[in-house]
Symmetry: D2
Subunit: 496 residues, 4 copies
């Protein structure tokens, strides 16, 4: 085997111990937010593919701050790739960028909950098999991965990661099909869940989405090259032209003949994740041609229509709820103010062991602006409530800063059900809206009033048309209507 | 002092070469913004003084991203201190924090223009002299430092930094006074300029401001301890109670007997830097009890009153002009929209040498939101125009994204004169407003219309009362009325 | 899959570029020495197994400076492991050591030629298969690995490394045997080559050697625990008692019942690598109870007997030829002197691009001692000649320092044939002794005389007894008598 | 000066805590050796001066492993310099080397005892004074520095380091002389102690030695350029021609007119440090044209003549006593063997807190070779005994490895008195030879016999000629005859 995978790797934070604030999700995090699990970016046919990937992944950094990776092929017999723990700008130095030669690249940024950070799971995953080299980057979750993995292990497969993504590589490698496209189609047909895949061989690229199109992916052109990204904001950064969103069940094949549109399964009803509209995607991105800032502003306006409250100021929880708060303010005429501020120097920071200083540590991340909220009746807009602990903390910050009333308005329905399609959510029993009524939640978060946007209001705000009702979204976390069959042992969250 | 010691140091970024975008000022930076030069934070009498300093400096990080330092005294015969290049969270690891024992600390964060970063100049500066140990942290500039330095050198003094701050240490050490307070008073009386000083010995602390109070500093209490910070936002973070702003010409002495209020010179007219109100200070900070978000929002409202223009949307240049933009929108009823977005993952990033990719690199930092601005008449609010290059770039971004008209409104008067009191400004000849009329500037930045807030409007917005006219601000950069005598060879910018 | 492999990784040298001297082999290296490929160290049943592994691997560091790894099991459902590029002391920090909990460990140090350094190939390799977790550390080479790999790929196996070692994991995972011991025996019987394996599961350890025992491994005890190491020097460091060397074809099984001695194949004639005696192993190690310093000193004495030359001083090429040089000096009565000195601060160093300074750069590594050799007839002892370039360089160093004659004596026969059993040798055509006569080599290296130890003299020096002739060594690199069948496409060198 | 500034810095080893073995001196070190304090290397008039300095300092690395620095001048108005904690090869990356432009350089490597490592004290020290820039690198100690420092502080000088070297900069800067050469002469005349100085201004270099020539410095030429080094081994590395050793009291002036030989004081009796001959200098260096390997070998021969003992093998404590051991073996005919081995991978290593593993940790550094010493009567040669703890530990290692007798022979007289001229020695009360007889020491180190070389034997071995008796060495540590007046509060050790 004379062809070698030229891998290198970095870990920017080898010395990090537990004594730091993690901003991540979970009860120990300061911001109890849902975490997206991964962003992908691919280029086919550009001489500076790796540099474009760097820019594109940097634009998608909010979808994954834990690790980053780029795999490139110059058409030769081995990939050039690098993966590392940390931000894109930390992982990819000049020296490393110079090694990533080739006109075909796939790249990945990955989120992870604290303690499970693993360089071994960083993507793109790279394999050697009888057909040559194979690299895979994914966003989403395969709910039947445990079943397929058990089946493969029984056949003698060995695994090096805990990532679902490794499953599809085995399915391709073990296929009886000699044509890799057919092998890939067969493999994709085995999978249940919500996912997009960027897959590359030494000279081809494949792009696929699950049958319901649960996770976002957009197709663009840059000169003669094709580019693919989780969100359109990455196209703006690299200067690519948006072409269209991927279709559910689609399989795109890119080779020397250009792009061929194909599919591995009949399209089922579109069910793109509604939390992408509400919270995850960057406000300057569009999904199915709907801009997310505008969409969120309309959610705020709708919220105002549904639940007006007399108050002195409106404030949003930064950064994700600013658009909705501005919409709410515009609709009601109540002034929008900067009542809460988030320190822009994010990332892990030192904390003192003592409880007193731990509490101060929270304020390093988020604080209320006393002069703005003192003596005021405040409408506080947030995008969702997961466990409720964060909301309570923020309401209390506002009260300590002198707010006389705090009215909480949430720009989405109550979050009651866990996600199986790529979002890292806690168990149902930890979801406050699953167990408590709205009034009980109001008490738990110490608010004067609390209102959640209705599902109808949400749909209206996103802007559903008649032909494609609800813009074909998945609302399972609100209404328990999961678009796929769920195995009993279905994996929660993200399988990247 | 044009000759500089070109020291480099083993810092956080040893591999960085020129092939990175610097977000800094100057013609090579993407954001041609003025740079504040330094923030200070001091604690007297708290058992966890270093941890508080860490939190406080992190809150003041926007005032200096280049280096950070903390010096602590446990009352013994030697200081415990650490300085390093990078952000507070990068410079201070757990291991280092453990070494910073003591109940008295002064801390510093420092800005610097690219290429002049020097660990040797990082503060606090620490000296040994006949009286023991001396540490100094400062914000501002001593305009007659070259003169004093020349005088000291003639007497045989040697210098290890190019920092003005070293001058005051020599003046104290060479004083005939046996009482350090009197020696310090004499030294301060030699200085001309705008500055605040935090000075510590093994068991005392001194806090001083220039006779006009050009640079901000606030006094707070945390239990029995005293805390001092460049801005009140740091008090919010550490949980301290704001007491008052420092007075021009004041000298505070802290020792075992507590805090003693003294002064080294008669107070002159207060002339606090107006750019702190317009741009520098964090929006959740207060100066002289005026909140800066509110103040900036009023600037936007005032701007709307002075220069209404019919348009479809209002957008602000992030992050500093958001408050003014919201004020403008509220006043005019034109919707506030997110027309420009800044990537929140700041810091240096890799760039490709090719010109085409360099241009894309700009969009990694700031981009226009096509869906929001396309086909719209846009009011773009910014806080100031320095060279004009950045404004041109942003106007063009908006036009390329489809804006049909771009009306630029600036929430301050034309910036015509360089600063000698701690702000790093270019030479007068590089200041576009110094050479061009408003109409010429409009053409240069490719705007459909351009308007600068009047000085009267600015004063009104800040909220001057009668007793203390104009809140006692320095407007020299607008009106050339410098509050101090300026030596012919006065040092521009920042002397930290 | 709730059990996760808790892997972390470090790369100490992410920024290294080509502009450094590599001391490694190959035409660009300064010291054109053969490189051992790997050392292994295992512990079964000790509460501080990871710390012992650290000490043991540090003692074996000369066998591999490129990467280091330790995998530990605490009997639970997942391994704790870490691998990184660099020396043992660089890869394993305190923080990382604390994570390596468990009483069973295998560890590895790895050599690699420049440019092929790959974290992905760093050992121990860790896998998940139907039987649980599997980790493997190896020293040696599987000559039929390409054939087995092709066969496995045809069956649909995917590979993540280019390491031969991955082959054995697949063979075990695909076995029809339910008993892992039998599966392992079957797998080992498929392999041809020279190798030792340390293999661990969640609660067991296996130790195996090839049928000829080509690579060294020793068995020891430390209290109730068992330890395994490539060389006895590691036992001295951890305080373990040497028990015996492993037997060819042996398979040791360690589990809750202790150590069970088994074998997977009949023992064939022992053929341990003679270069271990001549050059690789540390002088304080023993192989089959023969101390290597003593053995090498006897080689020097034997050399003196075979090829006396009248001279003023004897000097050895440091560090590996010191023992032989002392033996030569003792035998002849010619004084042993320090005519050549190697800088003890090894590792990569900066070099200037200019040719003149490149040459000086060589002297940063090795220099002749002018005062010692000036005007002297020098006998220079070295252990082997590979390409001849190094010998020429050293002879010239001595001449430039004033040596009047340089007589080269080599403590091994001419090195004519490449190794297929774990030593990284160049192609046959690059081996100077393969193409040239001794006289031609003498001219090529600019020596006054040249002599190679005879194969009989070498055997005599090692101290073969009658029962086990020649101590059962492999001399293939000298006499072309390879102990195993060699496939046509047999992999050269090292397969770790 | 007992009060020290406890500065830490962002250095190469930020994560190191106490839980590592330090190989340094002191009761906690494994090797209780004396530590040299500093090596210097200077270049005047070579276009690649910085690269030469890198090579030269790397060759002098054994004189200081703690920090390294190079200052360069290209004749312009500011120096280019860099200092850092760590080895030369760690501190100077390619990027940094590129910044060190100029044809005049001085460089420095520095030793330090654990806990006092300070980047602030790293040399060359660099100052600005009325005459321009000034950089200083030194080796040695100024015994009256505390007195001068107190005097300067009384005059108002401030200090940034605890280094004696800063004193001379102040003396120059405060001089009334307008001619810097005369100012320097006056300053040097104030100093008492043992030292060499390399001093540079923007276009000149000065080289000076104390009146007794206590510390070594050699002068060489490389083409038209002049080079200066603590030892000749650095000349061999850079390819320079040795010219001569510096003379006591000499002052060399280098400027555009070349080298001018001058002196600032009458030469007093030469008294170069005898420990340089015995232990410190590299064996391939020459002092006053005496090669140190040869000199040490003669010490071993002399020791054999003075104290023959019947034994089976001779072994030296590596690395410093190998030459003496070979001399002893040659003289007696007892075979020289490798009875002790030092791990060549030096530097700090992880240790386990438990006492049992701590002891094993020692063996990571040095171990006895069982097969070599078992059942043997061993002569163990060492160069000196400081506290005795190390000797006891090594004797015990030999006994545990089976030595039946251990006869210790020391190649220098008993070390009874502390050094005030640049060597870091413990207080007199910690010096075992100060308090105990030879017989008592023998018992304390558990030896069967013990002998120290006589002072006459040492002189004989070094090779004193008649004209310059004893080669003009300082033997104060043996015979209490200090060549200079010693102030009551004279600083011990090293003042760099």
């Amino acid at each position: 085997m004379s062809d070698e995978l030229k891998q290198t790797a970095t870990d920017k934070h080898p010395g990090w111990t537990g004594a730091y604030y993690n901003e991540g999700s979970g009860p120990d995090g300061i911001f109890d937010k849902l975490k997206e699990e991964c962003g992908v970016f691919g280029v086919y046919g550009h001489s500076e593919a790796a540099a474009l990937s760097y820019y594109g992944l940097h634009a998608l950094q909010h979808r994954g701050e834990e690790s980053a990776g780029i795999c490139a092929s110059d058409g030769g017999s081995a990939f050039n790739y690098h993966r590392g723990m940390g931000l894109v700008k930390e992982v990819f130095t000049n020296d490393i960028m110079e090694t990533l030669k080739g006109s075909i690249t796939i790249g990945h940024v990955r989120y992870s909950t604290a303690g499970e950070s693993k360089l071994a799971n960083a993507q793109p995953l790279v394999f050697k098999y009888r057909g040559g080299d194979l690299a895979i980057a994914t966003n989403g979750n395969i709910t039947n991965a445990p079943e397929i993995r058990a089946e493969l292990e029984a056949l003698g497969s060995i695994f090096q990661t805990t990532s679902d993504t490794e499953v599809i590589a085995h399915l391709i490698a073990r296929s009886d099909e000699t044509d890799v496209v057919q092998a890939l189609k067969n493999a994709l047909n085995r999978l249940v869940g919500g996912f997009v895949f960027l897959i590359m061989t030494n000279d081809r690229m494949f792009v696929a989405a699950d049958p319901h199109g649960l996770r976002p992916l957009v197709i663009g052109k840059l000169g003669d090259a094709y580019v693919f990204a989780s969100e359109t904001c990455a196209f703006e950064t690299v200067g690519a032209q948006y072409v269209r969103d991927i279709e559910p069940g689609e399989l795109l094949v890119l080779d020397a003949n250009g792009l061929r549109e194909d599919r591995y399964i009949e399209k089922k009803r579109r069910a793109i994740c509604s939390m992408e509209y509400i919270y995850f995607a960057r406000p300057d991105s569009d999904i199915n041609s709907v801009n997310l800032h505008s969409s969120r502003k309309r959610m705020g306006q709708q919220l105002a229509l549904e639940s007006f409250v007399d108050a002195d100021i409106v404030t949003g929880v930064p950064d994700s709820s600013i658009s909705a708060a501005i919409g709410f303010a515009e609709q009601t005429g109540i002034p929008y103010e900067l009542g809460l501020i988030k320190n822009k120097y994010t990332g892990r920071t030192f904390i003192q062991p003592s409880q007193e200083l731990r509490e101060k540590g929270v304020k390093m991340k988020l604080s209320a602006v006393r002069k703005v909220v003192e003596g005021k009746r405040v409408v506080m807009i947030d995008d969702s409530i997961v466990r409720g602990t964060t909301s309570l903390r923020i309401v209390n910050l506002l009260r300590e800063a002198g707010a006389t009333e705090v009215h909480v308005r949430i720009s989405s329905p109550p979050f009651k059900n866990p996600c199986f399609y790529g979002i890292d959510t806690p168990d149902r029993k930890e979801l406050i809206a699953s167990a408590k009524t709205v009034e009980e939640i109001r008490q738990a978060i110490n608010a004067d009033s609390l209102y959640f946007l209705t599902q109808e209001g949400l749909m209206e705000a996103v802007g559903g048309n008649e032909d494609e009702k609800n813009r074909g979204m998945c609302f399972a976390c609100f209404d328990n209507d999961y678009p796929t069959v769920l195995p009993e042992d279905a994996k929660l969250g993200c399988g990247c």
